[in-house]
Assembly symmetry: C3
Homo-oligomer: 129 residues x 3
């Protein structure tokens, strides 16, 4: 399952890159800590990072539990779709927050697949079916 | 330990439901991305989600480490109390933030039990007692 | 690997302590929920907690994957440096956000070491080198 762990590390590193872009935007647009508002473009970078934080926390248990109960290869594939979806989300959100829908769906749906798959697998094992 | 994994998935799905309610409140109360302020009721939904994000990140390691060092069934029971506590927290916070104390305690205390239990168990094993 | 689990629990408990300080600052500086702005000192405590939330989510997979592919003892050592870095970060940020650089570096660099080490280890195993 090394490829699943590779996807995991890439998802965390992607999140760190988004966080570094927030730091750069902080300097570029003059938003001094502790403020997180005051410049619309900074706020877009910030929201991309925050939303990715939320999704990443849901992705990681989904990846490992889907892998345990169903299939590690499909877990990794869904993880790669998530990674691509997040890139689209970040790129579109910074240009125009109203257009973030596609990237959001492409990163949220794999998470829902992973979690519901894991739930079905765990329920099946717990009930003996 | 499939039942522990079921509790884990339910806790993550609960968090996703709270996040979806933030999205719905965003539309209903006219708070356009990237803003997260400007309407008191929206902010309540948002804070419920944010606080759940914080607690969920503490819950998951607690569940698995308590399970490894002490008891998986008790870990799952504490996880179920957390789930109920979060439901109470979310329902009361949206109505009146000043009344969030009970739900907060019911979801925070199981986490502290899990983490302190895990710490005691790991220390006992590391020191050979 | 009990010592790695001890570091994990300490990192989560440290985060909870930062969160409790936010709650105390909320009362002391009169910032009523759901607001998270309005008092500069409160906002510093809040940003310490939020930044620690972000780093903790990156730390935990790093700790376990570095441990699996490279070395659990070095993972734990890097985790202890992270813990110390976060304490410095929290103490300096609350006094003067402009001086948060050292504590940030001391807690971010161990995470990058852990993640990149884990990535190299997992790639090496996946490709058979």
């Amino acid at each position: 399952m090394a490829y699943l762990d590779i996807v995991t590390v890439l998802a965390v590193l992607q999140f760190i890159v988004f966080a570094m872009k927030v730091g750069r935007a902080r300097a570029r647009y003059g938003v001094k800590a502790p403020a997180t508002t005051g410049n619309e473009i900074f706020e877009r970078y910030f929201r991309v990072q925050q939303n990715t934080l939320e999704l990443l926390l849901a992705l990681l248990p989904g990846l490992y539990l889907f892998s345990r109960y169903l299939n590690p290869l499909w877990a990794a594939v869904l993880g790669v779709i998530y990674l691509a979806g997040r890139e689209i989300y970040a790129a579109t959100y910074v240009r125009d927050p109203a257009k973030r829908g596609l990237g959001f769906a492409l990163s949220m749906l794999p998470i829902l697949f992973l979690l519901i798959g894991a739930l079905v697998g765990a329920l099946r094992q717990a009930t003996g079916f």
